[in-house]
Subunit: 407 residues, 2 copies
């Protein structure tokens, strides 16, 4: 593969037009859309409109006049084709961690007598922390097993299986259908964390028989730093489940100001407090970057980009750099990790040269491929720069070894 | 009182300069800062900077480069003089409802064996819903009594007393010191909801011996629609209390990605998920509107404004309009409600004439006075317009009777 070959792939890329939907800085190859999606070109104007004309001019009347009250469901509906769900099954709310807590708590309440939440070892930390905090509160047990042991570990004591669909480190993914079926066969509910899948790979939540899911708004969905999260509750479960984290925005009639809580019908019952309208405006612009785009195309390009990166890195960087993601593209999502003992310093040296990925302890250099704005030449060049940094030991400097608070 | 008298009060007002810190629409008298604070003049530029230069240009590196990781504590520190607390006792996080849940749950865990959360009837609904949801989860009892019965109802079964400092309807306020002392005498913790107090009246959380508090960012703190909330945990309690709604941002080392949760030391342990940076940027601009302003001046002006409104309305509107806020300014905070059978329609007629207040069921017309941007002439004119609408029955039209989803 040469740069010219990569450029030919870009020229033939059916998603190439989508890059214009983002404002990316010159000279940067951004391979961290799996941590923070790039800025949508329309986000700033959307925020200025919300701030100046809605908040500023129309003040409190905007809740009705600009329909703010319905934004959590209206904006969530844009996720429907991205995750393969009905619009009425989706809601934007809170953070991923808080959404996890709400749905896990609702799920264990709906399975009284069962005493276990089943998850995997080395799940994304917050998924384990939330489940553990809930278990301590209500006297349940959090059981974690290796990914390969999950199917067999589901039993009639399992209230809910809580898994991250795509591993945040290595990008390996579960077969949703298998886990859902196994969970249901034992009478358990299944909750998926889609933080590293939504917007990156093709999902079919309804088709795969999913019960519950949460996901992150600020990664592949381009909703901005700390964007609100989303949650999914299958239609068939919406009447049965109730979030015990119940607040006025989830009430059937919030403005009746009743002392007693009556949950709204439908997905709205999973709202708690007043949503951040500014954060929603940015996430709305993020979701608009997917308008008219087929997730099958996104997934196909994601696979092609990550495969090109793996091939080029392995051809150029030698065996000290070890692929720590699945080699099989069928079970690998949209990021790739390479293990390298001095990975932290190498990543800082890459960032200094304009190739932005991130690092996950203890030794993983993580590179995310975002089909909407990453191209094949980007990926080719990133691999070449990585090879150059390693070959010349450019990373071996104190300034690259100093650990930042956030990695 | 004449308009000229009111204008003289404005000319002599030591806080008059603060109005320039806001962008208010022409021709509007905004008396709903207790529902949604007006737009700070600097908010839009702050958001554009955060979006364009931080998110857009510096992307993921902004967590370190622009110190995003510390914004929840750094911005919260600006609340210290507003609420009378140490900077290290304050945190910006989530919504008020979610913050309530976290601190209530932490409080009841810290008082094992005690089976009651004590609150008041007709508290702000979300306070009751959250407490009730928690009680159902962990097998406790929510007991609500009339405000006047709270002191006597605290007993050795009370884990936590949860009250809203200033009533959202009538603006009556509790004596914090009395309740705190009574709670502590019985071994209970006390949690205050400051949503209708913070930024409106002078508070001294530390001086009054407060344990825990939460409050709203989008009312008198001018943080924008659905702004994140704040929470307060007295320093002496920070090591003892743990939020069971535990997420990765509250971990001692979030980027160690450990499977086990170890809470951060200090107030940071009460963070859960990733905070919305855009929402924080707006709230930061909101808190800056208080820079250099003494809360004693804010409270004094608030009392003067609300008293002027009461006097003018009572002099002009006749006895059908009944004051439903305390007449004693010592126990009345910064808004005033008048009961009127057709209050909803009257409020819509007021809004149509540029006087924006709001309505609370069943019959309360609510007017909030924000000393930073409301003046005496505003208040005088608002009373006059109300009298005119009532005298000429301008409100008696179908268009004013149609109830909106949000009141």
């Amino acid at each position: 593969m040469t740069l010219e070959d990569a450029e030919k792939l870009d020229a033939a890329d059916p998603l190439a037009f989508a890059r214009a939907r983002f404002r990316l800085p010159e000279g940067v190859i951004y391979l961290d859309g799996n941590s923070l999606g790039a800025l949508p070109a329309t986000a700033q104007a959307a925020l200025v409109n919300t701030v100046e004309h809605q908040w500023g001019d129309d003040l409190i009347t905007s809740w009705t006049k600009h329909d703010w009250i319905d934004w959590p469901t209206k904006i969530a509906a844009k996720l429907a084709p991205i995750v393969g769900a009905k619009p009425s099954e989706l809601l934007i709310a809170d953070s991923t961690s808080v959404c996890l807590f709400k749905l896990l708590a609702a799920a264990v309440q709906a399975r009284p007598g069962r005493r276990t939440i089943l998850s995997q070892e080395r799940n994304f930390p917050t998924d384990l922390y939330v489940a553990h905090g809930l278990c301590e509160m209500v006297g349940l047990k959090l059981r974690t097993v290796a990914p390969s042991a999950v199917l067999d570990a589901i039993d009639d004591d399992t209230a809910v299986v809580s898994l991250t669909h795509v591993d945040y480190r290595g990008a390996s993914s579960y077969d949703m259908r298998d886990i859902n079926d196994a969970g249901h066969a034992q009478g358990a509910l299944v909750l998926w964390d889609l933080s590293h899948s939504a917007g990156a790979v093709q999902l079919d939540l309804d088709g795969a028989g999913c019960d519950l899911a949460v996901g992150c708004g600020y990664k592949y969905l381009n909703g901005g730093p700390g964007a609100p999260a989303f949650l999914f509750v299958a239609e068939r479960l919406q009447d049965e489940l109730r979030s015990p984290l119940q607040g006025w925005m989830g009430h059937a009639e919030p403005f009746a100001f009743d002392d007693d809580f009556r949950p709204a019908t439908g997905i709205g019952r999973f709202l708690t407090g007043t949503p951040s309208i500014l954060a929603l405006a940015a996430l709305d612009a993020g979701l608009d970057t997917f308008e008219g785009i087929a997730m099958a195309d996104v997934e196909a390009k994601s696979r092609a980009l990550s495969q090109l990166f793996i091939d080029e890195v392995e051809a150029r960087c030698g065996s000290e750099v070890r692929l720590a993601s699945p080699r099989d593209p069928a079970i690998r999502a949209s990021h790739v990790v390479f293990a390298y003992a001095d990975g932290y310093a190498v990543m800082q040296a890459l960032i200094a040269r304009g190739v932005i990925g991130d690092f996950r302890a203890p030794d993983l250099m993580r590179f995310g491929f975002t089909p909407l704005y990453n191209g094949f030449a980007d990926v080719f060049n990133a691999a070449q720069i990585l090879a150059d940094i390693l070959g010349s030991r450019q990373w071996d400097q104190p300034r690259f070894r100093t650990r930042a608070k956030v990695t």
